[in-house]
C-alpha cells in the first residue's frame, strides 16, 4: 500500500510538486504551502487513489491558495473523476495541462492509459482523440469511459 508522497522542486517563483500514492486521512498537505509561488505545477501521475477524507483535505488545501497560477499535469482517472464531480477540486484559478484517458479492447481485455495533452488532444471546449489506439497485438482499442461524463471539466475550463 503506497502512502502519500510528495517531491517538491522550487525554481525561483516556479514550484513543482510531484504527488504520489494515496490521498486519504493520512495525507499531510501542511508542508506543501503554495502561497508565495507565482506558478505551481502539480504532477499527479503517481496518485493511486483518493478517498472521501482525502477529497476534503485536497479542497481545503487547494482552496487556501490565493495568488499562484496552478497547473494540474498528468491527472489519472481517479483525479479526473473528482475534477468532474466535486466543486472546488479544480478551482477557477487552476488549469489542466494533461490527463489520462483509459482505453480498452473487449476481445483481448487489454487496457491502456493514453495521455491527452492541452493543444494536442484537447483544448478549450473540444476533445480530439488520437485517430487510432492499438494494443500490444495491434487490436484497435476504444475509450473505456463515458465521454460526456469524463470530459465534462473541459466544458467549463481547461
Amino acid at each position: 500500500m503506497s502512502k502519500f508522497q510528495c517531491k517538491v522542486d522550487r525554481q525561483g517563483p516556479k514550484l513543482t510538486l510531484q504527488l504520489g500514492g494515496i490521498i486519504d486521512e493520512d495525507a499531510d498537505f501542511a508542508p506543501l504551502a503554495i502561497n508565495g509561488a507565482h506558478e505551481v505545477k502539480i504532477d499527479l501521475d503517481a496518485i493511486k487513489s483518493i478517498n472521501s477524507c482525502g477529497i476534503r483535505e485536497w479542497i481545503k488545501w487547494i482552496g487556501a491558495n490565493s495568488s499562484a497560477k496552478v497547473i494540474y499535469a498528468k491527472c489519472p482517472k481517479v483525479i479526473v473523476d473528482q475534477m468532474n464531480m466535486v466543486d472546488g477540486f479544480l478551482p477557477a484559478f487552476a488549469q489542466v495541462e494533461s490527463f489520462y484517458v483509459p482505453y480498452y479492447n473487449e476481445d483481448s481485455g487489454a487496457e491502456k492509459n493514453i495521455l491527452f495533452r492541452y493543444g494536442v488532444e484537447f483544448k478549450e471546449g473540444q476533445v480530439q482523440p488520437p485517430s487510432e489506439v492499438k494494443d500490444e497485438t495491434g487490436n484497435t482499442m476504444e475509450m473505456d469511459i463515458i465521454e460526456s461524463k469524463y470530459f465534462k471539466f473541459i466544458k467549463s475550463k481547461v
Binding site: 468532474n84 466543486d87 476533445v127 463515458i146 461524463k149
Partner: protein, 661 residues
C-alpha cells in the same frame, strides 16, 4: 439475454457549448458553401456534400450530431435519404436531422415529412442563419439541462433486475457510469460492490457539499466515513447487553488516553469479538446516515485497500440491507421504482436458494408462501391482491430479493387482457387519485427517465394502455389520463428551478415543523394521552414521513391504545412499525422503552424488564421506564429466565459478556 447498452464512440467528440459536428447535404454548391462557412464561424465542424451517396459514404465512417438536408436532391429526396440513413447506418441514433426546402413549403407537406422522418425541424429556404442556430442551441440546451444522461445511467443500473447474468466487470462499469443517483439507490450500490468482490472507495457527495465515503476490501465494507461521526458507542454496548451500565461508568471514569474499547477489553469487561460486533453496528449506523432522501453524486475509485478487521461481510450486509430497506426506503419510492415492472412475471434467478438468509428476514416471513407464488409466476399486481399481503411488506420483500439477485423480472412485456387491464387501471387510479400533479410525475419518474419531456405523455399513455371497452374501467382510464395531462401541463408551465427551490424551501420548513411535533407528541405520550399523541403523529406522517422518532413514537402511541379484542392484529401492525425504525434511532432511551412495552403487551415480561432497564441505564432521567419497572415489581409475576424462550441476542450477549476479575 439482453446485453448492456454501449455508449457509441464518437470519433470526434465535441463537448463544448458550441462545436457540433454537422453534415450539410445541399446540391446548390453556393448555398452549401455559405452554410458551411457560416456554421464553421460559429465554431461547429461542418462537412458539405452535394449528393446523397456521398452523405451515406461519409456517415458510415463518422458520427454527426446534426444532418441538414435539402428535400430535393439528385437521385433521391431528402426524406428518402433520412429513411435510408436510419436503415443502413448503425450509429445514426444520436444524430438529429433537419430538413430544408425552398420548393416544398406547404405546411401539410412539412408536417408529413417531419412525422415520416423523425426530423427535428423544417426550414423554409431562404432562411436566416439565426433560425438554424437558435434551433440547434435550443435542442442542445434541452439536453444540457435535462438529466437524461444521468437518468439513463441509473435506468441501466436497474435493468440488472431483468438480467439473469451480469458479469462483475459489467456491474463495475454500471457503477462507474453513475454520477447522480437517489440517496435511496445506495443500498443497491453497496450490494453490487459487495457482490463484485471489489476493493476501493465509494465517494458520496450530497447537494449541500458534504463528502462521505465507504471503503470496500474484496467486497467487504471495512470503513465508513460520514460527517456525523457520533455513534453512541456506550449506548450500543448497553443496549446489546454486552455491558452493564455500572461497568461503562467505571471505564468512563478512567481518564487514561486509551480508547474505550481497549480499556474494556483490557479490564476483561468485554470480549474482543463482542467489541467487533459493536464496531460493525457502528458502521451500520454510519451507513444508514448515507441513505438520504435526496440526490447524491457517487464515484467509485477502484484501488488496493488494506484488509481491516472488523468488516461487514456479505451475510451481515444482508441483515443491514433489510434494516435499510425496512427503515429508510419509503413505500412511494418503491412503488415508483417498480411501476414499470408491475405487470411482469417475477422469476427465481439462478442464485435462488431456499435457505438463503434473505428468506429468513422479517418482511419475507410476513408474506406467507411468497416463494411458491413466485414459482407460479406471479407479478406485483397479483401479489397486491392476495389476502394477508400488505403493500409495504410486498415492495420491501421484493426489493430485498432483487438487491440480492435472488429474483428477476421476466423481460417479456405482458400484453394485458381485459381483466388484467381493469386491475392495472384501477391500481393506477388508486395510486394517483389524491396526489398533487408534482407527486404524479414523481411516481412515474422511473418510467419517464431518459425520455425527452415531449415524449412523456406518449410514454404514460403506453403504460396505461389503450382505452378499454368496459364503461366503468373507461371512466377510471379517463380520470388517469386527465391526471397525466394536468400534471404535464403544470410541469411545463413552471420552470425546473422554480419547482426545485420551492420544493427545497418547503421541505426544510416541513422538517422543522415535524421535529417540533414529534417532541410535542412525546410529552403527550409521557402523560398517557395516547389519542392526542396519535393525532399529532398522524399529522407528522402526512407532512414529513421520514421525521426522526416518528415510528418509535407511533408504536408507543399504538401500544397505549391496544384494544384487547383486536390485540393480535394490532400487535402485528406495531411490529411492522418497529421494524421500520432506522438503526441510528435505536440508541436513545425511547426505543428500548417502546420495545419493552411491546414485549410486555406480548406477555414477554422477562425481556420487557430488560428493555426497561436498558432504557433507564441510557437515560436515568427518563421516568417512563422507571414507572414500568415498578409496575412489574409490584405485579411480582416475573418468571424465571428461560434460555430456551429468551431472545437469541440476549442469550448470545450473555455468553460474550465477561465478569470483572
Amino acid at each position: 439475454m439482453k446485453t448492456l447498452k454501449k455508449v457509441p464512440f464518437n470519433r470526434y467528440l465535441i463537448v463544448a457549448e458550441v462545436g457540433f459536428k454537422i453534415l450539410v447535404i445541399e446540391d446548390d454548391a453556393h448555398l452549401g458553401a455559405s452554410l458551411r462557412e457560416a456554421l464553421t464561424r460559429k465554431g461547429h465542424f461542418v462537412f458539405h456534400v452535394m449528393k446523397p451517396e456521398e452523405a451515406l459514404q461519409l456517415m458510415t465512417k463518422q458520427v454527426f450530431n446534426y444532418v441538414l438536408t435539402d428535400c430535393l436532391l439528385p437521385q433521391m429526396t431528402g426524406i428518402d435519404l433520412i429513411k435510408k440513413i436510419r436503415q443502413e447506418i448503425p450509429d445514426e441514433s444520436t444524430t438529429k436531422f433537419i430538413l430544408m426546402s425552398g420548393i416544398y413549403t406547404d405546411k401539410t407537406f412539412q408536417n408529413e415529412a417531419l412525422s415520416e422522418t423523425g426530423a427535428i425541424g423544417f426550414l423554409k429556404k431562404p432562411f436566416q442563419l439565426e433560425e438554424l442556430d437558435q434551433y440547434i442551441v435550443k435542442v442542445q440546451t434541452v439536453s444540457a439541462t435535462s438529466d437524461s444522461l444521468q437518468e439513463s445511467a441509473r435506468k441501466n443500473l436497474y435493468e440488472i433486475f431483468e438480467k439473469e447474468k451480469v458479469s462483475p466487470r459489467e456491474k463495475r462499469k454500471l457503477i462507474e457510469s453513475l454520477e447522480e443517483v437517489d440517496g435511496y439507490d445506495l443500498p443497491f450500490i453497496y450490494s453490487l460492490l459487495a457482490e463484485t468482490k471489489t476493493s476501493g472507495h465509494l465517494n458520496i457527495f450530497t447537494e449541500g457539499g458534504v463528502v462521505s465515503g465507504v471503503t470496500f476490501f474484496q467486497g467487504a465494507i471495512v470503513g465508513v466515513d460520514v460527517e456525523d461521526q457520533s455513534t453512541f458507542l456506550g449506548h450500543m454496548l448497553i443496549q446489546s447487553g454486552y455491558l452493564a451500565p455500572q461497568d461503562l461508568k467505571e471505564i468512563l471514569n478512567d481518564k487514561s488516553p486509551r480508547r474505550i474499547g481497549q480499556k474494556l477489553i483490557e479490564a476483561s469487561k468485554l470480549s474482543p469479538h463482542a467489541f467487533d460486533m459493536i464496531l460493525n453496528e457502528q458502521m451500520n449506523v454510519r451507513l444508514t446516515r448515507t441513505i438520504i432522501d435526496g440526490k447524491v453524486r457517487v464515484n467509485f475509485v477502484s484501488t488496493e485497500v488494506e484488509e481491516i478487521s472488523p468488516s461487514i461481510d456479505s451475510d451481515q450486509l444482508t441483515e443491514y440491507l433489510h434494516d435499510w430497506v425496512a427503515s429508510k426506503i419509503p413505500l412511494n419510492w418503491l412503488e415508483s421504482l417498480y411501476l414499470m415492472w408491475s405487470g411482469q412475471k417475477i422469476l427465481k434467478s439462478s442464485q435462488w436458494k431456499d435457505e438463503h438468509a434473505v428468506l429468513k428476514t422479517s418482511f419475507l416471513k410476513r408474506l406467507k408462501n411468497l416463494p411458491e407464488k413466485i414459482t407460479q409466476g406471479a407479478n406485483i399486481n397479483e401479489l397486491l391482491t392476495i389476502e394477508g399481503y400488505d403493500a409495504i411488506s410486498i415492495y420491501k420483500a421484493l426489493h430485498l430479493l432483487l438487491l440480492k439477485g435472488l429474483i428477476i423480472f421476466s423481460s417479456e412485456k405482458v400484453s394485458l387482457d381485459a381483466s388484467a387491464q381493469k386491475q392495472h387501471v384501477k391500481k393506477l387510479h388508486d395510486q394517483i387519485n389524491n396526489k398533487e400533479s408534482s407527486e404524479v410525475l414523481e411516481l412515474f419518474k422511473e418510467i419517464l427517465a431518459s425520455k425527452h419531456e415531449t415524449e412523456w405523455l406518449d410514454e404514460l399513455m403506453k403504460f396505461i394502455g389503450p382505452a378499454p371497452q368496459d364503461q366503468d374501467v373507461l371512466k377510471l382510464w379517463k380520470s388517469v389520463k386527465d391526471k397525466f395531462d394536468r400534471a404535464l401541463r403544470i410541469h411545463w408551465s413552471e420552470t425546473d428551478t422554480q419547482v426545485t427551490s420551492i420544493k427545497k424551501e418547503d421541505n426544510s420548513e416541513r422538517k422543522i415543523k415535524a421535529i417540533r411535533m414529534v417532541d410535542e407528541s412525546k410529552v403527550q405520550l409521557q402523560l398517557n394521552r395516547y389519542a392526542k399523541a396519535m393525532e399529532i403523529l398522524n399529522e407528522v406522517a402526512k407532512i414529513f414521513p421520514s421525521a426522526a422518532g416518528l415510528r418509535v413514537c407511533k408504536a408507543w402511541g399504538q401500544l397505549g391504545l391496544v384494544d384487547p379484542n383486536k390485540k393480535v392484529f394490532q400487535l402485528k401492525e406495531i411490529e411492522l412499525e418497529l421494524m421500520q425504525v432506522p438503526p441510528d434511532e435505536r440508541y436513545d432511551a425511547t426505543y428500548p422503552f417502546v420495545m419493552g412495552l411491546y414485549q410486555k403487551a406480548k406477555g414477554d415480561f422477562v425481556n420487557a424488564r430488560k428493555s426497561f432497564e436498558k432504557s433507564q441505564a441510557i437515560d436515568p432521567s427518563f421516568i417512563a421506564p422507571k414507572r414500568e419497572l415498578s409496575m412489574l415489581d409490584s405485579a411480582k409475576n416475573t418468571p424465571k429466565q428461560d434460555v430456551f424462550n429468551m431472545d437469541l441476542k440476549d442469550v448470545v450477549a450473555g455468553f460474550f459478556k465477561k465478569k470483572a476479575g
